[in-house]
């Protein structure tokens, strides 16, 4: 089985993580690095994907500044979403060969990893046909938005961006009240803690998701515990 280099970066600013992603994508493209899954938390941040609906951001500039929330317009698919403490963010940087490539299949596999994780907590999560992401009932627990970067040296693609999974209770209120998440106004947002009534850490959930991710994508996880893996 292919090795999957997995790193827990703890709290890291959006710009820093984005730059890191771009650098690692290049390294994976040039076969200088194995496929990598970055797991981390962001400080309060809104990111606006390529659908670009600024009207789904409900806060004005002053309100954003007052709340200390940064906003980035980025190169992943999807609309606006929130990142912040208590949310596990995963950036799978994987080389996928062009032969037999199916972009939507990749999304479904990301969802499958998270659905598998939730099943461990006795939660039956699922998909909504038109809305990528993972849902428990009518509430969204994980958002997904990805980019396929054409490899420069090979025929396939290297993925970037990924998923954001709400772990701590309160994440769903703090950040998501300021936006229409992914432009979907009729459904709500939830978190693992809100659904189970238990308390969990994002790093702890990060460890659990590695096994589901590896199972779904067929990897052998290699976890690296470095203090600053991006230096």
């Amino acid at each position: 089985m292919k090795p999957l280099h997995t790193e827990w970066l703890s709290r890291i600013g959006y710009q820093e993580a984005w730059d890191l992603q771009k650098r690692l994508v290049g390294e994976i493209d040039r076969e200088e690095r194995e496929d990598t899954l970055l797991l981390l938390e962001h400080p309060p941040t809104y990111t606006i994907g390529s659908d670009r609906h600024p009207e789904h951001l409900l806060f004005g500039t002053d309100e954003l500044k007052r709340r200390g929330i940064e906003v980035f317009e980025i190169d992943r698919g999807g609309d606006i979403t929130y990142h912040g403490p208590g949310q596990l963010v995963g950036y799978p940087l994987l080389y996928l060969d062009a032969v037999g490539l199916d972009l939507h299949r990749y999304l479904r596999d990301l969802e499958e990893s998270i659905i598998g994780l939730l099943a461990d907590f006795g939660l039956q999560a699922g998909r909504k046909p038109q809305y990528t992401g993972v849902w428990v009932g009518d509430e969204k627990i994980a958002a997904i938005g990805v980019k396929f970067n054409k490899a420069r040296t090979r025929r396939g693609f290297v993925t970037s961006h990924g998923f954001a999974f709400n772990v701590k209770r309160g994440v769903e209120r703090e950040g998501f009240q300021g936006i229409v998440p992914c432009g979907i106004s009729e459904y709500g947002v939830t978190s693992l803690e809100a659904l189970t009534g238990q308390s969990y850490g994002t790093e702890e959930i990060g460890r659990l998701i590695v096994s589901h991710f590896s199972r779904v994508f067929g990897y052998e996880p290699v976890v690296t515990e470095t203090a600053s893996p991006h230096s």
Binding site: G100, L107, G122, K147, N149, K150
Partner: protein
């Protein structure tokens, strides 16, 4: 070697992809592009993807601008190649394709290189008309071999086809006799999922309307989604056994009045059935499992989902640890869940964690059903109506109270042998209920 113009086509980047939006162009007309070099970014669903060029040469024209939603198979750009640069350009055109009679043999041909080839080496090369033009022609019954192209290198454009359609409408006869070749070429493209076209009259607007629309409630939507997922993902197999309940019917008739007095609820056949199912699952734990692609997860807890119908839906509340309960205990649980379901008081926790489903279809008089598995469980059992039937016992005929038990199972996990044995075990336990059976 003459220069050739190669079309870059919107590729089928996902099986379910019908169209994608062009986010931005990374190359501009006049730029040189290499084979597989990204030329633009596409957006589909929650994915941004860089689209690689399928030819090497000079980008001469962009056919679909940023922000445009483009159907799969539609050309989005033209690349001028030097001779043999594009392997696709060397492929012979399909022999079935009629040659335009007026075409000079030596003029540079517009050859299309389908980017699908970059993703599927076995993809057939579609011939010299763009799919969009082929589709337009097929939809309108236009013979492309009869049209003179006005596009680059004599290529037939959509406008040419539309002009021909207009001309045809003015009385030209050729369109009616169009050969089927373009249609066949189109038939190789994967069919996008289609929504049936149903005409619905809106509300009161049309007096005397012969139909009306019902809004899909969230619960209906959930049921629809679960059923669809189960049927899509699980290969269902089906089997049935007949069970002789004569002794159980007698037992119940003897006990039911006392039970009602003591417990305050009716004694039905369901708790006996659940007891039998639990006993059989204990013997064949694989019935209580979930398919997880590279492994089968067998659940230690036996949590029975009970299909309970309401006026406009069916819910499956769960009896947890059903194996730890007596027949009386099960009777109370069933009663309680049925009451909560009818009164709409089920909590999320009442619905979660089921490992095997039992459905009492006999309530509605059914004697045979083909149930859909309650996803992601491994099997579902129905309890049909109990009916008195003539039955051969030894070499004699007897009138017995018979019931059919129907089982749908996930054939990825379970085979006929184990399901047969499970079924026999349920039957054996049910037929074993008699005067000595204890309810507590």
């Amino acid at each position: 070697m003459p220069k050739q113009i190669v079309e870059i086509i919107m590729p089928q980047l996902a099986e379910s992809l019908v169209n994608a939006t062009i986010d931005r162009w990374l190359k501009q007309p006049g730029d040189m592009v290499d084979m597989y070099e990204p030329i633009c970014e596409l957006i589909t669903d929650k994915v941004n993807a860089e689209l690689p060029s399928t030819a090497r040469g000079k980008l001469v024209k962009i056919l679909a601008g940023a922000g445009e939603l483009v159907d799969v198979g539609t050309p989005i750009a033209l690349v001028e190649t030097e001779g043999a640069a594009s392997p696709a350009a060397e492929m012979p055109t399909a022999p079935a394709e009629p040659m335009p009679a007026s075409e000079p043999v030596n003029r540079p041909a517009a050859v299309q290189a389908s980017p699908a080839a970059a993703f599927d080496p076995d993809a057939p090369m579609r011939a010299r008309y763009s799919p969009a033009v082929q589709k337009l022609a097929a939809d309108n019954g236009v013979d492309l071999s009869r049209i003179a192209g006005s596009g680059m290198g004599g290529r037939i454009t959509r406008k040419d086809v539309l002009d021909a359609v207009t001309a045809g409408n003015r009385g030209n006869a050729f369109s009616a006799a169009a050969p089927a070749a373009p249609v066949e070429a189109m038939a190789r493209m994967p069919e996008p999922p289609r929504i049936p076209i149903v005409e619905v009259d809106e509300g009161q607007a049309a007096p005397g309307s012969r139909e009306y629309a019902i809004d899909v409630t969230p619960i209906r939507n959930t049921i629809a989604k679960n059923m669809r997922q189960s049927v899509n993902e699980i290969p269902h197999a089906w089997t049935m056994v007949e069970v002789d309940l004569t002794n159980l019917v007698e037992l119940r008739n003897r006990l039911k009045d006392g039970f009602k007095k003591q417990e305050g609820i009716n004694l039905t056949f369901m708790p006996f059935l659940l007891k039998a199912v639990v006993g059989a699952i204990k013997e064949y734990p694989l019935m209580n499992s979930v398919w997880a692609v590279d492994k089968i997860i067998v659940k230690r807890d036996i949590n029975l989902s009970l299909a309970v119908g309401t006026e406009d839906s069916v819910l499956t509340p769960v009896i947890r640890n059903a194996d730890q309960k007596t027949i009386t205990g099960l009777a109370h649980e069933i009663h309680e869940l049925a009451r909560k379901t009818r009164e709409g008081k089920l909590k999320l926790s009442d619905m979660q964690g089921g490992t095997f489903t039992v459905n009492n279809t006999g309530t509605f008089g059914s004697v045979l059903s083909y149930p859909i598995i309650n996803y992601p469980q491994a099997a579902i059992l129905t309890f049909e109506a109990i009916v008195k039937r003539p039955v051969v016992i030894g070499d004699m005929l007897g009138i017995r109270s018979m019931v059919n038990l129907c089982l749908s199972f996930d054939h990825r996990i379970l085979d006929g042998i184990i399901c047969g044995r499970f079924h026999q075990k349920v039957k054996e336990i049910l037929e074993g209920f008699g005067p000595d059976t204890k309810l507590y």
